[in-house]
Subunit: 488 residues, 2 copies
């Protein structure tokens, strides 16, 4: 097993010197590169694949932005940094990182402008149909549970999913645009290049890295620091098993082959702490069509457990972490529509009793659930889970059916949200809370803002936002040192 | 902030040399000390308090042992290592550490004899009333969910909670006995002594430690290794917030002031990986009396979520991790008894409807739950959660009442189960899966066998079991070296 750190004293000759080295060219690495360059630093960015993009390029391209962006205003929505902060504090797990959420909300409008300046186009049209990734080229969408219980009572809802203007999956356009900007920026980019080890000095500071490229190991000095943006670990089976075993029941893993935790392991070897390692973004897309939210999700005891209009990441998280991976979406003849995401039909019946029996649910369980739900639904109410009235209708038109939403046979999309703990400037922190000098990280190599409690767009959002801050902070270390006459 | 590792090259003079150093004298440290001594090693054991015992001494003293111990046989129970293995694999979280569970089950009878040899007395009487810690001096008790659904179908149930012979909390007697044995063993013991740092050589191996004692820092060489047995982190608020935020809602924290994660942090500083950091043992003791299991636990939507006869650690885990900390134990006039653990009465009513209203539950919700439960209970059945028939009776005798089992106002006892990842020999492992040479850990400084999925007795069980193995392995490093003529 290769050691993931090397002593600077043993390096001998540097094959290359630069100000800032960026490991990985997904959205976080591109953002780190661009802002380090803008701060006047020389940058070497390396990427294991033959071109940049990473998992970001294969994503929906949604960016979680708000606080009153021009796009929100053009679409007629009011928002403020405070409301965005309140939503994120409520949604992002039991004890989210307040300092990072604070700066993320406060500087979000500026971050929107950054995307626009770099050429990312947004169409000022709101996509109204459901929370998630729009199939159109519309620019704004609800991408979390902002207007669903209990969050709509905790913060004024506003759509914050900002989507680059292209029909369907927008991650490709987003990354092409950012990578074009990287090319224009004058950064040096090495592809098919892998970080073998971080180089540390005797005080433990990171002063460079060893890059494997063209069959050789090259020692690169990074005067300002190294920024790890190498993705998560959803495609590392050993790490998943040790750290996030619950996620293994999800069939569809969102990531490239390089989401193998290499960045996290490099950071740990240099003294970084990991947090939230068990958590992931777990999507159970029961929409589209939006009307399927009129069905009720029941567990293996035939009982409801959530408001079905919550963001599909919240649905997935609850099924996996709380319901042992078992859920059915129960509909009647009036509410059934063919789901866009293909799903097996787990059962049908001329009566709820028959459906209950076909699903193998305990006798009377689903009947009691539907009866209680219908009784309230007659009045347009859902006092148990507070689903929005527009989706509350009695299920009373036979035949009845249930879509299979079990993890065993249904699509659940997952990627990891745990990783290195970082400061609001992207500094990798030790267990004692100190920054590892010269070491930064961003994107899914770090713990996400939401872990658990994901909303679409937060991964590209926090990756680019804290990637930029890391790039600027690392660059400033060189500039400051030069200003003081310390050898840079 | 002090660095938690020091370079051996900078140590200069060793103030003391020993074969094995043990940090912390709870059950794991005592076991490590005893077996290292038995293997012929010199041992220095240090303890931050003024005397040994740690959290173990304040515990119930239950030890999870089985596979066919003499005590099990005397009480008329059949067990085998394979059945014990099957139960633990089923109970201990989604992907337990099979290699450790395997050796733990296979060598459990030997481990029982070890306690007896060191003077721990067990009364060969089975305590039949409920799973947990017996109030009597009886020696054997069900201490997990062995005879509850779904585990009784996955492994042949046997009681495995072995309890030292003393009425009530047996941890004090257990630790007094083990500490007496430590004293007889000839180990050197320093109390009021704290490990400031581990000393590592240039290859990263741990070769000693710095001990703060009598106002001085003393450099201690440990030729065979250092064994960290310094407890968990339930009393470190920062670590809880970062790693196990859900546990913070539990009011009663089981631990001494020294359960502040110091051992975990020392191990991480030397390159060790942590796992399962978010998990804890979370007890919601609805028993005694046992008959309270005839009630039904409902959540904030008035719905059941578990078989109430599951081990109270399983109940607590489910309420905290899956039910947002909200649960009520609903009883009728026939099933109500005063609970031994004081609990508020959350509501009473002449009818279920009235109780439902008083609890603020959605209209009809508790009524539907009780109606369905009673319908099955008439036949002695619980097809939803498979509670044992002896606890299944219709709740139909007014008045009705509910005991408050919310984390907000009820007793939940918690300690952490996450910590350093170790091999079956107690070696601290790096993220790459390699052992940190010379570094061992046991007890709650390490990840428990069960994380989540706790059964009573597993903490003293795995602490002593892997503590002993660590002691032997560290001692063997010295013995082997001497045999080869390498300076020991």
């Amino acid at each position: 097993m290769l050691r993931l750190t090397r002593d600077a004293a043993q390096v001998g000759v540097w094959d290359l010197e630069t100000d800032v080295a960026v490991v990985g060219l997904g959205c976080a690495g591109a953002a780190a590169t661009l802002d380090a360059r803008r701060s006047g630093a020389e940058v070497l960015a390396i990427e294991r694949a033959s071109g940049g993009g990473g998992t970001s390029a294969n994503s929906g391209g949604v960016i979680y932005l708000g606080g009153g962006t021009p796009l929100q205003a053009e679409c007629g929505f009011e928002d403020s940094p405070e409301e965005m902060f309140k939503y994120l504090m409520a949604a992002c797990g039991p004890r989210p990182d307040e300092s990072k959420i604070r700066v993320y909300a406060e500087d979000s409008v500026e971050h929107y402008h950054w995307f626009v300046e770099h050429g990312v186009p947004f169409k000022p049209v709101f996509y109204p149909h459901y929370s998630g990734e729009p199939p159109t080229d519309d620019g704004l969408v609800f991408s979390g549970s902002e207007n669903a219980h209990p969050f709509h009572q905790m913060a004024r809802p506003a759509p914050r999913g900002h989507v680059p203007k292209v029909p369907g999956q927008a991650g490709g356009l987003l990354m092409k645009t950012l990578l074009d900007a990287v090319e224009r920026s004058g950064a040096t980019v090495w592809t098919d290049a892998r970080c073998e080890a971080l180089v540390t000095d005797e005080a433990g500071a990171v002063v460079g890295l060893v890059v494997r490229v063209d069959g050789e190991s090259r020692n690169v000095r990074a005067r300002g620091g190294v920024i790890l943006c190498a993705g998560g670990f959803v495609n590392n089976k050993d790490m998943l098993q040790r750290h996030a075993p619950l996620l293994m029941q999800c069939k569809y893993r969102v990531g490239t082959t390089f989401d193998d935790g290499s960045g996290i392991r490099l950071g740990m070897a240099a003294g970084g702490e990991t947090v939230n390692m068990s958590h992931g973004s777990i999507s159970l897309p029961i929409v589209p069509p939006k009307s399927l939210q009129k069905g009720i999700l029941v567990n293996g005891q035939g009982m409801r457990f959530i408001n079905e209009d919550a963001y599909y990441g919240r649905l997935g998280e609850h099924v996996v972490a709380r319901q042992d991976g078992c859920a059915y979406l129960v509909l009647d003849a009036a509410t059934f529509e063919r789901p866009d995401v293909e799903r097996d039909i787990a059962g049908v019946g001329e009566s709820v009793e028959e459906l209950e029996s076909e699903l193998g649910l305990p006798e009377g369980s689903l009947q009691a659930t539907v009866e209680l739900y219908n009784r309230h639904a007659e009045r347009g109410e859902d006092p148990l889970f507070h689903k929005s009235p527009e989706f509350v209708v009695p299920l009373s038109n036979p035949p009845y059916g249930a879509l299979d939403c079990t993890t065993a046979s249904s699509l659940y999309a997952v990627f990891t949200l745990g990783g290195l703990r970082t400061s609001a400037d992207g500094e990798v922190l030790t267990p004692a809370g100190e920054a590892v000098a010269g070491l930064y990280a961003a994107g899914r190599t770090t713990s996400g803002l939401a872990a658990p409690g994901y909303s679409s767009g937060l991964s590209i959002g926090d990756g680019t936002f804290f990637g930029r801050r890391a790039g600027r902070h690392a660059a400033a270390r060189v500039v400051d040192h030069s200003a003081k006459g310390v050898p840079g």
